[in-house]
């Protein structure tokens, strides 16, 4: 199809969302009646997307350079040597048993009923993962808390445990909300665990 300059510009305006709602509807209706015009619109859409992707890649390279320029010496060494701290490795979590015994007991008791009731509503992967997390949490309770981090850890463990409990009580929406909050908190001891669980859900 040999487009006139006016047709070409009209298609551009349509793709850029510059047409009024009324004009947009009329134009879309005309596309259904004109296969050639529809193909031209698709070609321009693809071309525009392809060029925008080139722009994205150009700006990503620039962002990468700025990122490298702003690393301090230690971070540079880590990255250059590929000696990166594994973010997803389980962190050492120490907290006193007495502080958590009650919470853990409640969670464990609830889990029996939950495992029976919710296995048809949540994927087995999520169930197994949550159960593993609870087991790890119970083991960690036996350690001694570092006094500096104790308060922070206590709060973070409470948030994590609450999210696990929500999974067990089938409150998927609330579980996702709590997990998202943890996943978005930089430096949260359970940030990576929350991300993994969200991904599995």
């Amino acid at each position: 199809m040999n487009l006139s300059i006016e047709q070409f510009e009209y298609i551009e305006a349509y793709l850029q969302g510059q047409l009024s709602e009324e004009k947009k509807q009329v134009f879309e209706a005309s596309l259904d009646l004109d296969a050639e015009l529809k193909k031209e619109v698709e070609t321009q859409r693809q071309l525009r997307l392809g060029l925008q992707v080139i722009g994205v890649q150009k700006r990503l390279k620039e962002a990468h350079q700025r990122y490298l320029d702003n690393l301090d010496d230690t971070e540079k060494q880590e990255e250059e040597g590929n000696n990166v701290r594994p973010l997803s490795q389980p962190k050492t979590r120490q907290i006193s048993w007495t502080n958590w015994a009650v919470a853990a007991s409640i969670a464990l008791v609830m889990s029996f009923g939950w495992l029976y009731k919710t296995q048809y509503y949540l994927s087995s992967e999520v169930i197994v993962f949550a159960a593993e997390q609870e087991r790890k949490l119970a083991i960690d309770f036996r350690g001694e808390a570092n006094t500096v981090d104790k308060q922070k850890l206590t709060i973070e463990k409470a948030q994590w445990l609450m999210a696990l409990v929500k999974i067990k009580t089938k409150d998927k929406k609330e579980a996702k909300r709590l997990l998202t909050k943890i996943a978005e908190t930089d430096g949260h001891s359970f940030q990576e665990d929350a991300k993994t669980l969200l991904y599995k859900m």
Partner: protein, 196 residues
């Protein structure tokens, strides 16, 4: 990081990302994404038989895919899952498939995701990649004057008036040149990728 880290919540980040015609918004979004999400992908790749350069390629491809999902309205922000988890998931998908292409088995903890891509997905992605590559190649074959105009309009997203001033021509003349250059670009792209 020696400079100050950007602070954005997911809805703010999403607002910057959907403003796809605004390079400044995109630049800010990418700086934030680099500062907050990159190291996780670097760890994923470098601890699974990849180099730092592989990590950068994987990360860029993941963000590009995420951008395309937004443009094609396959992704819209709901607040339920963090954007970081999408980018990590795309990165993992891309890297595990790259490992498969190189015939390398990933570490045991990733083995369950090893067969993540089915043939249909791969064919679709391959077609899209070929099409995008053809456009990039065709752009490189355009004559300088035309390539400049196309880059300023569609890659740098400059305004028509700015481009006309740069070229020292009026806006109607610029419209005519843009029209003609776009037609040339489509013709060259079709020469490389006939189904375009």
């Amino acid at each position: 990081m020696s400079n100050k880290k950007l602070v954005l919540d997911d809805s703010e980040l999403y607002s910057l990302l959907i403003d796809t015609d605004n390079p400044k918004a995109q630049t800010q979004a990418f700086d934030y994404i680099y500062q907050h999400f990159y190291r996780q992908v670097l760890t994923l790749v470098t601890q699974n038989n990849g180099s730092q350069s592989d990590a950068v390629d994987t990360f860029h491809q993941a963000i590009t895919n995420f951008f395309i999902s937004i443009k094609e309205e396959k992704y819209s922000y709901t607040g339920l899952a963090a954007i970081s988890s999408y980018i990590y998931r795309y990165s993992k998908y891309i890297w595990l498939n790259e490992l498969r292409r190189r015939k390398i088995r990933p570490k045991a903890e990733y083995s369950e995701d090893y067969q993540i891509a089915d043939k249909k997905d791969l064919v679709k992605e391959l077609e899209r990649k070929e099409k995008l590559d053809a456009i990039a190649k065709a752009l490189g074959q355009l004559k300088d004057g035309c390539r400049e105009i196309i880059e300023w309009f569609y890659i740098d997203e400059l305004r028509q008036r700015e481009i006309a001033e740069k070229l020292g021509i009026n806006e109607p003349a610029l419209k005519q040149r843009k029209y003609s250059c776009t037609k040339q670009l489509i013709r060259i792209t079709r020469g490389i990728y006939p189904d375009f």
